[in-house]
């Protein structure tokens, strides 16, 4: 399945990247290619994928387009923690970020009123510390210290989410009240935690403005979503963002709950074994930026896996529908050679009203341990039923359930619901 809808724009991007960035020119030359060799959509696969490592090593001299510096107008610099230590330094043009965000949010009618001509929503962020571009976990910073140049307020949260002290939770809730946001941009696991704490403290998360919630950073589990929806109520629109720090919005959830990938600002490919997959098959997302003057990326292997499901959705958007499967490094590798994606694991678990948080961890030996934090509704039969479902999904590997009262985050502050200690060799 090769998308040829924006091929001319892709050709332009290839030519631009070739002529204006050292890295991509050398990448093409190393493979004896020139832009004019890419004549048809099929030719695109002649260009070996580019990776995060390429852009990390060559930043900024090799990947910033000729004529730009890191201080050029509208350039936003950032350092992301990446996932599992795969960090990145990069830059993006603020208007590219806005363009991609607008395309993404455009699939969800419930977010329409967020953007009004001449206005900018007031945004609060509650996400892993290293995703926040500010040192927000020190505990001594003020609201002003944590307000980014674009006006976004970054709320404090500890690196180890479940060890966040109560004063820090109270501070976050107080600051939401003071700031009066239109939009909360959150990591769903983090926000579900905040919701549980808020309930325990007898407080509310409200704003005099109409609140919207965008979830990103890590996989939104159904367990987290259930808690957020129950607490915030049906009136608060919740949307799941597909995104990466270096690219911005790659897609968004429509008002019918399906995830759409942005194939307007990006050329997207879903690749497995070097070839495009068919609809319904798992593939790694490769993106080629469209009209990115600062850091054009060609066939950028994102490490994120999706199953493309076609382009028909009752929401009316023509952006292709996908199912999020997760990152290669988080996939469970079974002894019989099959893989089970974090998305699949989440569908086995479901919204599980009897638990607050879970993490499935596969050890280097292949054994799986499912740790979960039960809540007051938990009953033994539910755990037993889930154990049976997981055993079925993960066979022939063994799975063990452990009820716990604490699960740690990774050092970056991110919480992954599904992790494998077996080195990934591509899904």
């Amino acid at each position: 399945m090769i998308d040829s809808s924006n091929f001319e724009a892709v050709q332009e991007e290839i030519t631009y990247a070739f002529e204006n960035t050292v890295f991509f020119r050398e990448h093409m030359q190393a493979n004896r290619l020139r832009p004019e060799d890419i004549k048809a959509p099929e030719d695109l696969q002649r260009i070996p994928p580019t990776s995060k490592a390429h852009y990390r090593r060559n930043f900024p001299a090799g990947v910033l387009a000729k004529g730009y510096t890191l201080n050029s107008r509208d350039v936003m610099r950032f350092q992301s923690s990446g996932t599992s230590g795969d960090r990145l330094n990069s830059a993006i043009l603020s208007y590219d970020l806005a363009r991609r965000q607008a395309t993404g949010l455009g699939v969800n009618r419930r977010f329409d009123e967020l953007w009004r001509p001449g206005g900018r929503p007031r945004i609060c962020r509650f996400a892993p510390p290293n995703c926040s571009d500010v040192e927000c976990a020190t505990g001594v910073s003020s609201l002003e210290d944590r307000t980014l140049p674009d006006g976004t307020l970054v709320l404090t949260v500890a690196h180890d989410l479940l060890a966040t002290p109560e004063w820090q939770i109270v501070k976050a809730l107080d600051e939401i009240e003071i700031y009066q946001p239109d939009l909360l941009v959150v990591d769903p696991t983090h926000f579900a935690f905040l919701v549980r704490c808020t309930r325990r403290l007898g407080r509310k998360i409200t704003s005099p403005r109409k609140l919207h919630i965008v979830c990103g950073y890590t996989l939104m589990t159904r367990v987290a979503r259930r808690q957020i929806e129950e607490f915030m109520g049906q009136e608060v629109p919740i949307g799941d963002m597909i995104g990466m720090s270096e690219l911005g919005y790659l897609g968004f959830e429509c008002h019918h709950g399906r995830r759409h990938i942005n194939n307007i600002d990006f050329h997207v490919e879903f690749i497995r074994g070097g070839r495009s997959v068919e609809e319904g098959q798992l593939g790694e997302l490769y993106v080629t930026t469209i009209d990115d003057c600062l850091v054009p990326r060609i066939r950028y292997a994102t490490g994120d896996y999706f199953t493309p499901l076609g382009s028909s959705c009752e929401c009316g958007s023509e952006l292709p529908v996908v199912r999020i499967e997760g990152r290669a490094t988080h996939m469970i590798q079974l002894r019989d050679g099959r893989i089970v994606t974090p998305g699949r694991v989440d569908s086995v678990i479901g919204d599980a009203p009897w638990l607050d948080l879970y993490q499935l961890e596969q050890s280097r030996t292949g054994t799986c341990t499912f740790r979960y934090i039960p809540n007051a509704k938990a009953q033994a039969r539910e755990a037993a039923a889930l154990e049976a479902r997981l055993a079925d999904a993960l066979a022939p590997n063994e799975v063990r359930l452990e009820a716990v009262d604490y699960i740690s985050c990774e050092r970056s502050g991110k919480f992954q619901p599904c992790i494998s200690r077996i080195p990934a060799e591509g899904a």
């Binding site: 332009e12 631009y16 204006n20 490592a53 390429h54 990390r56 090593r57 060559n58 930043f59 900024p60 001299a61 910033l64 387009a65 000729k66 004529g67 730009y68 510096t69 890191l70 201080n71 050029s72 107008r73 610099r77 350092q79 960090r87 990145l88 330094n89 009209d291 003057c293 600062l294």
Partner: protein
């Protein structure tokens, strides 16, 4: 191949590549890399023994105890001390805390320190007395007149920093200690964590009362800090921690402390790391001293020369190579964030350097008014590497220049 490169081959971590790029490790003031003999000594202990020390009567415990105590002797010999004058702890910070808390100072005790001290040589003393810090000049050299003036107030303790971890300045501690002895009867406590990795010391010739250092900054494993204390002073020092290994006898009414230095070493120590520490010292001893000094001179010249000729950086410390180790700290122009620069130097260019306040915030605030970038070289680095670092910094700062440049046309 140069002599430096021959040393480099002893450090397996330097063979590592990240994103297909070799690494250049220039964060040696934080910790040094470990040569193969150190790694082998640690591995050998775990592969052939692994037993606990001192109390066991079985063969493995006896062997481990012998190796552990032999290591103490190697460390003691290196600084000209007796073995019972060397306390093996976790790090320099713990050593300095032990002295500060163990001297039995009254709450109003007057203590003279120095502005360029590491937090570990300031904070423990603030907990136990009134501390005045000796000023430094614009280049980080101690203000000797101010020091003498503070000594006239007859401090009970004088804490000295042998070498600043920010400026790289080596202070004339022999002269300073003489001045202390002439002015008062203060106990002299020296932090030599940054100096000892570069030059051997004889503690008795130096006439110091206590001296702390860390093995990990001189090729040894992490987890071993050493405290030298003159035996009569150690005998009066109150242990920071007590428990297993610190006593000869315990009954329901009381206990009898063990002799020094064991009374300060509560619990099972880092046995493998102490054995590895001795291997580090043997490695340092095996190097040709004159070659080491010539090499250090080259590194100093490259580091200082590179800094003073660049308009976009300000050298924090003396603008010359005299009286310093191979370390420079830089303030970057126009508020360019040092942390971001350090991260990009690492990920894009392979240079591992340090950014921040270096655990010496009073000094960094005074001399740089913000975070700095620190480049600290050691024996496995060479001048060409330092030059490569400066070229990378030049290139990166040009990308971060404040001027606005229009983007490419499409």
């Amino acid at each position: 191949m140069t002599v430096q490169n021959a040393w480099r081959d002893d450090f397996p971590a330097l063979r590592r590549e990240i994103d297909g790029q070799p690494i250049s490790y220039l964060d040696n003031a934080a910790t040094t890399l470990k040569p193969r003999p150190v790694i082998q000594a640690i591995t050998e202990y775990y592969e052939t023994n692994g037993a606990n020390i001192h109390r066991g009567k079985h063969r493995l415990s006896e062997e481990a105890s012998d190796a552990y105590e032999a290591s103490r002797m190697v460390i003691a010999r290196y600084i000209g001390a007796a073995a019972n004058e060397v306390v093996l702890l976790r790090n320099t910070s713990e050593a300095l805390n032990l002295v500060a808390s163990g001297l039995g100072l009254r709450p109003d005790a007057y203590i003279v320190g120095a502005l360029d001290a590491h937090h570990s040589q300031i904070l423990p003393w603030r907990r136990v007395g009134r501390v005045d810090l000796t000023r430094v000049d614009a280049h980080g050299r101690l203000d000797r007149d101010h020091f003498r003036m503070l000594l006239r107030r007859r401090p009970q303790v004088v804490t000295l920093t042998h070498c600043s971890n920010v400026t790289g300045v080596v202070h004339p501690v022999e002269e300073l200690i003489s001045e202390v002895r002439a002015a008062c009867d203060a106990t002299v406590v020296l932090d030599s964590a940054q100096f000892l990795p570069h030059q051997r010391i004889n503690v008795h010739a130096l006439d110091v009362d206590f001296m702390a250092f860390s093995m990990h900054k001189m090729l040894g494993p992490t987890g071993v800090g050493c405290l030298f204390g003159r035996s009569e002073l150690l005998a009066k020092l109150r242990p920071l921690s007590v428990g297993g290994g610190t006593v000869d006898w315990v009954d329901v009414d009381g206990s009898v402390d063990r002799r020094i230095p064991f009374r300060f070493e509560a619990g099972t120590p880092a046995i493998a790391s102490v054995i590895g520490s001795a291997a580090a010292i043997r490695y340092l001893e095996s190097l040709d001293d004159s070659e080491r000094h010539r090499h250090a001179d080259e590194l100093r010249a490259a580091l200082v020369g590179g800094a003073v000729t660049r308009p976009r950086v300000q050298l924090i410390g003396p603008p010359n190579e005299n009286g310093r180790i191979a370390l420079v700290s830089l303030r970057l122009e126009n508020g360019v964030p040092a942390g971001e620069v350090a991260r990009i130097l690492s990920d894009s260019y392979g240079f591992m350097v340090r950014s921040g306040h270096m655990c010496a915030q009073p000094l960094v605030a005074e001399l740089a008014d913000g975070e700095i970038l620190r480049i600290a070289a050691y024996l496995y680095n060479d001048a060409a590497e330092v030059e490569g670092f400066y070229q990378a910094l030049d290139e990166l700062l040009s990308w971060m220049a404040p001027e606005v440049v229009l983007g490419a046309n499409r």
